[in-house]
Point group: C2
Chain length 416, copies 2
């Protein structure tokens, strides 16, 4: 943001932020590298203990950023020792210069860690198409590596440093046990526009001291993204840079479990899924210009995948989202969004609720519907739009935010 | 719109509107049926001479309106004698009452025409989910049928009566010859939100005195929609009511041509296509809140269908559309939209232009790119976004408008 006054904090921001506990094997530091922003931190360095296992899910964009290409390749090595994240410049659509820039970043980070270049993971967020001068990391990352620490303040600073148009930092923590050994999971994320499903939306990094074989970490992350970040949308636009990574340091010393479906991992899996959902919801709550947090719940679809596509059609509809902004219980636009999804639907079996108020049933307005009650539901900051298709057992739940004039304002004046 | 002051006319409205000539066999009248609006016409009645052939293309929504269901069925009869269009209420998602309402409208119109009920075509536009009291047409349609006429004023009034949030009426005319016989084509259309491809967007009615067998009329219309209304999008939302119909009265007395591909129809086809493009562009120019008319031209795709999907991805991207509103030559968002389309694309072969200014080439910023020149192009009311994928010969061209705060304003306060 180049505007003089920072945007106000989203009214949907949580009242308080959790203090994140240490995750053994993870140390963090932030710095001002001067990539784009003045007077704020714009680079996060995370040092990871030897033996750390990485997992990652990335954008499905056909035009991914140079850092995404790098991470996909580095994942094959199966080891992680450092993560570098910068905000302000996405290093996307920057051609050979972008690839050189990522390589230089890896070189500088590897010297700082120290570690092999292929053990460095990199993510960038911000403007697309501008060359990123990675030489600015020279000195900065070595200094970060020297002073990286594991306290709550370091975690808070990390969540702060990766923000772009986010109005509040996003962090979450969970505890779990694996075969009787307690483990910790910490996560941070950033949004807040160009958010859509079809991949691990935006940037999010999750760290645990659990010992997990790489295929297990990857399987757990890939499963978790489906019920969390792939269920959140702000504007239907898919970033070139979306990255979700999980780093497992193994310092907890739990027994190794080689199958993601092993019951001994059930508690960990539940905690990870829950943490990912919390982070994903925070992203929707900080959607650009958001004033309402919207849950779209679809049931009675032919199957879950169909329910998901219908829910996303509703959540991505500009007409639905502007109606929510206007606190208008406009179920007609929900019908429209169901209809355009292209999924099996029978107009005459549809039922629709706003909050607890059933506004439509059997393909028409609910005869008992109270406009006053529906309007009251729309005035809440949290809005539930529930649709029953009446066809089968398929269900899905996704999260989004309203579409306000502030979204247009933020995005009509981002680059200039 | 229930707001006290009418919206200002779109700055993209044409400086002048054409006077439409008579189309022999077509007479029109408008009235105030009091469906929803006060102090303006809200119903259009068109009387069609015996022998008129209908053709139609309708929304692909899985939740179509009751009038769309009616027209699909009536088309099978192959004959048209009357068209009734009302604005203010879409009669969509109104259940059995909606079907009854359409049947009653047909009965009233058939008595007025007079004709068989199955020769009546019906379209409704406006709010979804509210019962439409068709009894209000009683008397009104008979009066319309009695005073229907074919002058320029009647055509102008027709274009006016079908408007909802449109800020200007949309009409166009063409002349052509079929086998040496001159024919006329007149068309009217209305937009202006819930506009997306995947069907004949919004309501548009085209009338010609050409004699065309029904399969030929249908084939010509179905082909024409692909390069016109299916290439325009305002917000990516697909209406439950979208209807494009062509009525051919046959009064010109041209030789019957039984094959749509017959060279004797080439001139007529070109004129029809051109008229449909003009109407489609007028819809984009009157997109809700539009301040910029945007042409997205994609070339070098693997094939035309792929080019079309990429062009629509760009045209539907909220981030691209807000950048245009902000007069920001933000090619990074164009890259994003290409990437999210899911179509074959090679980041490192992409080239992008705003107007005549090439801003990106070979996967990076054009080294010769002038920010000042690009900014000047963005200040124009007509914006061309051109993308060359560098892969093949596929090309497509679509039209849209920018996404402004006025769009949010209009749609956040439509129903209340």
């Amino acid at each position: 943001m180049s505007s003089a006054s920072p945007p106000p904090v989203s009214p949907l921001a949580p009242a308080s932020q959790p203090d994140l506990p240490p995750v053994p094997g993870v140390r963090l530091a932030t710095a001002q590298a001067g990539i784009r922003y003045a007077g704020r931190t714009d680079v996060l360095y995370v040092g990871l203990a030897e033996g750390t296992v990485p997992a990652g899910v990335f954008t499905r964009s056909k035009c991914p950023s140079a850092p995404v290409d790098w991470c996909r390749e580095a994942l094959k090595g199966g080891a992680a020792r450092a993560l570098v994240v910068n905000s302000g410049n996405a290093n996307a659509f920057t051609g050979q210069r972008g690839r050189d820039s990522v390589a230089l970043t890896a070189r500088i980070a590897a010297a700082a860690a120290p570690c092999a270049e292929t053990d460095v993971f990199i993510a960038s967020t911000g403007v697309i198409g501008e060359p990123l001068d990675a030489a600015k990391f020279e000195g900065v990352l070595a200094d970060c590596a020297a002073r990286a620490e594991d306290g709550a303040e370091a975690w808070a600073a990390a969540a702060q440093a990766i923000m772009t148009t986010d109005t509040f930092p996003k962090r979450a923590t969970r505890r779990a046990e694996i075969a009787g050994t307690p483990v910790t999971i910490n996560g941070i994320a950033k949004g807040a526009g160009m958010i859509a499903p079809d991949m691990a939306t935006m940037l999010s990094f999750v760290f645990t001291d659990a010992a997990l074989p790489q295929p297990v970490a990857q399987a757990l992350l890939a499963a978790g993204v489906n019920t969390s970040f792939n269920c959140v949308t702000v504007d239907g636009d898919t970033s070139t840079s979306d990255t979700l990574m999980l780093f497992a340091t193994g310092q907890a010393g739990n027994a190794a479990v080689s199958d993601a479906a092993d019951p001994r991992l059930a508690g960990f899996k539940a905690a990870l899924d829950d943490l990912l959902i919390e982070l994903a919801q925070l992203v929707a709550k900080d959607g650009e210009g958001a004033r309402k947090f919207v849950t779209v719940a679809v049931e009675g679809a032919e199957n879950d995948a169909s329910a998901h596509r219908i829910a996303m059609s509703i959540a991505n509809s500009p007409l639905v989202k502007t109606a929510v902004a206007g606190e208008d219980a406009n179920w007609g636009r929900v019908v429209m969004a169901v209809g355009k999804a292209g999924e099996p639907a029978d107009r005459d079996r549809l039922a629709i609720w706003f909050g607890d108020v059933r506004v439509a049933v059997a393909g028409a307005r609910d005869p008992d519907y109270s406009e006053a009650a529906a309007s009251a539901a729309m005035r809440e900051p949290d809005i539930l739009i529930r649709v029953d298709l009446g066809l089968g057992q398929g269900r899905a739940r996704v999260w989004t935010c309203d579409l306000t004039k502030a979204y247009v304002e933020i995005n009509g004046d981002y680059r200039s």
